[in-house]
């Protein structure tokens, strides 16, 4: 039901993102989607990758602070109004969106979303007829 998102804490310093990307490349890990949130001092790199556990271990061994977080990958069509139908469902249940970003990989199109209550959001989304991707399905 949930997708494992890889989150990496990064200081705003030259070369940190390059280093992280290099590590993932060396481990032969594919990045399916990413978002980079930034403040003046640090950034938070959030990614959906082909092998989250392996990626996390490799980053940590190289001194990065990385963690896995459960997020939802909601399958959407490439047409007008899709984002609205998703936000409407969450809104109706009083769920807050912490952050979201999109994923387009081959035939798979989804919105990655973290809400204030993951279980409740997952149930509401299913009820509404929208579909959720799991890790395996995404990474196939």
């Amino acid at each position: 039901m949930f997708v494992k998102q890889l989150s990496v804490f990064m200081e705003n310093r030259e070369g940190r993102l390059e280093k992280a990307a290099e590590i993932l490349k060396e481990q032969n890990i594919n990045i399916l989607a990413l978002s980079m949130a930034d403040t003046t001092e640090y950034g938070m790199l959030r990614m959906v990758v082909s092998n989250p556990e392996e990626a996390k271990t490799a980053l940590k061994e190289n001194g990065f602070s990385a963690m896995l977080t459960d997020v939802l990958a909601v399958r959407l069509e490439d047409q007008v109004g899709e984002l609205h139908s998703l936000t409407l469902v969450l809104c109706a249940k009083g769920l807050n969106i912490e952050y979201m970003y999109s994923l387009v990989s081959g035939e798979r199109k989804a919105i990655i979303v973290k809400t204030s209550d993951a279980e409740k959001a997952a149930a509401a989304i299913r009820e509404s007829g929208l579909r959720l991707y799991g890790n395996e399905e995404l990474c196939r």
């Binding site: 602070s65 963690m67 912490e98 973290k114």
Partner: protein
């Protein structure tokens, strides 16, 4: 165990008589052998005969680091160079290096004092001790080494440099004691955790000095390693490490008073203060031959306690250091010690003991930024949670020092690990 019961458990009367007699000889020695002291005493109309005992101590002038710099390199030596068997020097990061010389007897006395300290920390002949202070001009390495050898322990002269090798040997040799700076021991403890070898080490005690550290830091080190961590005090001008150490009751550091005469003076009036009152520690080296010093102002802030200690020693104890008057920063008119920040962070939990204060001046206003390493389990993928954490740390520090501060979270291990004295402050105001 007490290394030298005769000296460490003397009655107050006997100790004062011994100190008085040694002070008289010391004054006589420097007057006749050190031109600098002779001139200083003559300038205020003082002759050796005016000093008849401890009661005349206050008549003597103070000695400061500047006096040592002015007479660089050997101007304060009281014996010919043929009797000097070793030289040590301070790093000189804040000015010209200060140079000290030791006679063979000085080395013996130093070793004796360090042996007392190591014994006080519960170690003995059967222990295997790693000396992980830097060997060289810095007094830590060789001072610890000679003392541990004198006491009869098996000494492993690690010096600093390769932490993983140090830990490997610690495991393979069954090392039970270690001498190093507290910040380096913290780094060693973290590395032991990373390597997952905590259950393989046999370490039981440590002696840590050369930089001020807090009670919380001691708790953290003791908790991480399952050892007893002791504070060892010293400074190269006086001798090096081994001037004082705390016993297992951790009720202050016992000064080896038969060799070092301690006084606490008010920071403004320079008059002696009563037991329990904080002031600057001043030491006269009662038995030193190479470079004897009279009333040397250490710049270290502490208080004294003459009440008997449960361990049986009768020597005066100095409280753990609140800081050096040198380390004190004045930010927007407020006195701030790095140790206050350390205590606040450890009190809060969730962060490591590693931090860096950056003081700057923007538009004529002092600013203080504290970079804090945040332990991994504290991280969140939500920016909001991280910002809340930073605000919370800011609040805790602000409560402790009474000054607005900006906290910057940095990656674990982002702050440089020092193997010697840790760098906790970058004051950019001085660089203008």
């Amino acid at each position: 165990m007490i290394w030298n019961e005769t000296k460490e458990c003397m009655s107050r009367d006997e100790m004062q008589a011994l100190q008085g007699a040694r002070l008289v000889k010391l004054v006589d020695r420097v007057y006749h052998n050190v031109e600098y002291y002779r001139k200083k005493m003559q300038a205020i109309g003082l002759e050796p005969g005016d000093i008849r005992g401890l009661e005349d101590l206050e008549k003597l002038p103070f000695t400061t680091k500047d006096d040592l710099r002015d007479t660089y390199p050997f101007g304060m030596f009281a014996v010919p160079n043929s009797q000097i068997v070793r030289i040590h020097a301070s790093s000189g990061t804040t000015g010209k290096a200060t140079v000290v010389g030791y006679t063979r007897r000085d080395i013996d006395v130093w070793s004796e004092c360090v042996a007392r300290c190591i014994t006080m920390a519960g170690m003995g002949r059967e222990d295997i001790i790693q000396v992980a202070y830097g060997y060289g001009l810095f007094t830590g390495g060789l001072g610890g080494h000679y003392g541990a050898e004198k006491m009869g322990a098996t000494v492993v002269p690690m010096s600093t440099g390769n932490t993983k090798k140090l830990i490997t040997m610690m495991i393979d040799f069954g090392v039970t004691g270690i001498l190093c700076t507290p910040s380096y021991l913290m780094h060693i403890a973290e590395t032991i955790e990373e390597m997952g070898v905590r259950d393989k080490i046999k370490l039981k005690a440590s002696l840590n000095g050369a930089e001020p550290w807090t009670e919380k830091m001691r708790d953290k080190i003791e908790g991480m390693l399952g050892i007893h961590a002791h504070d060892i005090y010293g400074l190269s001008e006086i001798m090096g490490p081994g001037v004082a150490t705390d016993c297992r009751f951790h009720a202050g550091l016992h000064v080896h008073e038969d060799h070092f005469l301690p006084e606490i003076v008010d920071r403004e009036t320079f008059r002696p203060v009563a037991d329990g009152v904080t002031g600057e520690l001043v030491i006269s080296t009662l038995t030193k031959e190479g470079i004897p010093l009279i009333r040397y102002r250490t710049k270290d802030l502490t208080s004294m306690d003459h009440s008997p200690c449960e361990c049986g020693r009768t020597t005066a104890r100095i409280a753990r250091f609140t800081g050096r008057s040198d380390d004190m920063l004045i930010i927007r008119g407020v006195n701030v010690f790095p140790s206050q920040i350390e205590a606040a962070l450890l009190e809060m939990g969730g962060t490591t003991a590693h931090y860096l204060m950056i003081v700057d001046r923007v538009n004529n206003l002092d600013t203080l930024e504290v970079q804090v390493e945040v332990e991994e389990h504290f991280f969140s993928d939500e920016i909001r949670a991280l910002e809340n954490l930073a605000r919370k740390i800011e609040h805790v520090i602000q409560q402790a020092i009474g000054l607005a501060v900006k906290v910057k979270l940095v990656e674990p291990k982002a702050l440089e690990r020092s193997m010697g004295k840790a760098v906790h402050v970058i004051d950019k105001r001085k660089m203008d």
